[in-house]
């Protein structure tokens, strides 16, 4: 009982002193964040909610539409193409995300070593990210062309008959994964930043203890890089589910490898 009274007593003592500055800084906080609060409501919340609403109506750009409840969803779940696009998206994510982490981390580790010409290497690895997407798509269509493409040309010169990449059922998805891996620049930059955050002291200590390169990677680099890897994992998954521009431009939305249509193309059409 005595304890309760003292604690309430304490509260009343502390509160007035705490409250005042908190309220003032609360106002400041809201003021500083206000552009984003407006932006969030206008450019994200409003369109998202309308999208959800439209999904419950027969709306199309020309026609205001009427409310039909979950009819669109039941229709969608009965659509074979929908499940196909879901499975394609998952296929893409399952292969692309681990591969991009593996390649991304190894590239970043190489780019983090202190060798000459790093600025040049870093720029080169970022190049595919800088090239305009349209040019990129055209380039890949040409590179993967079964008849005169560069990739099959190279395979041919070592005596392998290359597949009909984008036109084939089995190869169109690996082709898309390959193409996406090529624009790995942004995650690599983020891994590099993460590697830069790891204190040099850990490595020096490990060196003194005679740790090998492998041990240093396994016990210092990877554990300390985990948050960054996790971030890129999440971003990679999001990216994989949003994969749209590339398959869209490469296949014109209906195109040759209809089985490569990912989930989003479907949502759009």
């Amino acid at each position: 009982m005595a304890q309760v009274t003292t604690s309430t007593h304490k509260k009343t003592l502390i509160q007035p002193t705490l409250r005042k500055p908190l309220r003032k800084s609360s106002l400041n906080g809201w003021l500083f964040a206000s552009p984003w609060i407006i932006g969030l409501l206008l450019f994200y919340a409003y369109p998202l909610i309308s999208s959800m609403y439209y999904s419950l109506t027969t709306y199309s750009i020309l026609d205001a539409g009427e409310f039909v409840g979950f009819k669109n969803y039941t229709e969608l779940f009965h659509d074979e193409l929908f499940w196909k696009s879901i499975s394609n998206t998952i296929y893409f994510a399952v292969f692309f995300v681990p591969l991009s982490i593996l390649f991304g981390v190894s590239l970043a580790m190489m780019l983090n070593m202190k060798v000459k010409g790093l600025a040049i290497y870093r720029t080169i690895f970022f190049l595919p990210t800088l090239v305009p997407q349209v040019a990129l798509a055209v380039l890949w269509m040409w590179l993967l062309n079964p008849g005169f493409g560069l990739v099959n040309g190279m395979l041919d010169s070592v005596g392998i008959q290359g597949p009909n990449w984008l036109g084939s059922m089995n190869w169109s998805k690996p082709s898309l994964i390959l193409m996406s891996l090529w624009t790995i620049g942004q995650p690599v930059i983020i891994y590099l930043a993460g590697l830069g955050d790891i204190s040099e002291e850990y490595y020096e200590a490990a060196e003194v203890d005679g740790a090998s390169w492998f041990q240093k990677t396994r016990h210092i680099t990877l554990p300390l890089l985990t948050p960054v890897i996790f971030y890129n994992l999440v971003m990679g998954l999001i990216g994989a589910f949003q994969q749209f521009t590339l398959p869209y431009t490469m296949t014109q939305g209906q195109g040759t490898p209809a089985n490569s249509l990912t989930f989003l193309c479907h949502a759009y059409v």
Binding site: F32, G39, Y44, P128, A135, V138, A267
Partner: protein, 277 residues
């Protein structure tokens, strides 16, 4: 083998791997530049002629005349510069508030901000288009510029991480001296966050420069087209002017490559993740 020799071997080995992987990444860029210098008849020859013979410099002049290059360049620069400006004005402000200020609802709003990053742009695309259509902005570059002034979630997130790493002591000291919250932000925190602002600005600049979907959706008048839309105009029913298209693509890419090359070190410094754990 002593340590010095071993180190030398290591460095050489690293170089060899880096060069091999670099080739893989640079190959298509080289193809782009090489195609930009070829006459149309040479573009699809097999095996590939990497070095055009003769160099068709005329492609560049022709390309500039084929599309209104300088108008498109001007439009692209306008949209890119203004939207980058928008991001570097609004995002640090919001990020600072998330990182250093105490206010009600902050954590909830931050979680929402992260969640928003995960919404595919295609979901919001149509309602957003209708919204801009209603206020008469479709057919102007405004939808590509104005939202940047209200913050971009990815940039806010990156900047917040950076601000989190700055010591609170600086703020407290300034506070004791009676500086207002905005003054602390403007004179102390903002200058310290320069690398992060540069990183965010560069990401926005590159994204905006090469953006295709946005301009395709909102720019209806050819006089307002950007370079990435211009690229598509080389494709017609008569076939595609590959050489000219790649000439424009090359001219579009080189400025950002130079920018990236010179800024990459500061830029990487600006990205911190020490805040997430």
């Amino acid at each position: 083998m002593n340590a010095k020799v071993r180190k030398k071997v290591n460095v050489t080995f690293t170089h060899i791997i880096l060069i091999i992987v670099s080739l893989l990444f640079i190959l298509p860029f080289i193809w782009m530049v090489s195609t930009s210098l070829k006459p149309i008849t040479q573009v699809f020859t097999f095996p590939i002629e990497w070095i055009p013979d003769p160099f068709q410099w005329m492609n560049y002049l022709d390309a500039i005349e084929y599309i209104p290059f300088f108008t498109y360049l001007k439009n692209t620069v306008l949209i890119t510069v203004l939207s980058t400006l928008g991001v570097i004005i609004s995002c640090p402000l919001v990020a600072y508030s998330f990182a250093k200020l105490e206010w009600r609802g902050k954590n909830v709003l931050f979680v929402i901000t992260i969640a928003v990053m995960m919404i595919p742009s295609q979901v919001t695309m149509i309602p957003l288009f209708l919204l801009f259509n209603k206020i008469g902005w479709v057919g102007t570059p405004l939808p590509l510029i104005v939202p940047a002034f209200f913050g971009v979630p990815f940039s806010i997130f990156l900047l917040r991480q950076f601000f989190m790493g700055l010591p609170d002591a600086l703020r407290d000291a300034a506070k004791i001296d009676g500086a207002s919250e905005f003054r602390i932000y403007w004179q102390i925190m903002l200058p310290l966050a320069k690398p992060a602002i540069l990183a965010v600005g560069l990401f926005q600049f590159m994204g905006s420069w090469t953006d295709f979907m946005g301009p395709l959706l909102y720019l209806t008048d050819e006089a307002q087209y950007t370079l990435s839309l211009g690229l598509q105009q080389f494709q017609s029913q008569m076939g595609t002017e590959w050489g000219l298209m790649m000439a424009v693509a090359t001219m579009m890419t080189i400025p950002i490559i130079i920018l990236f090359f010179f800024l990459q070190k500061t830029f990487i410094k600006g990205i911190t993740f020490s805040g997430i754990k």
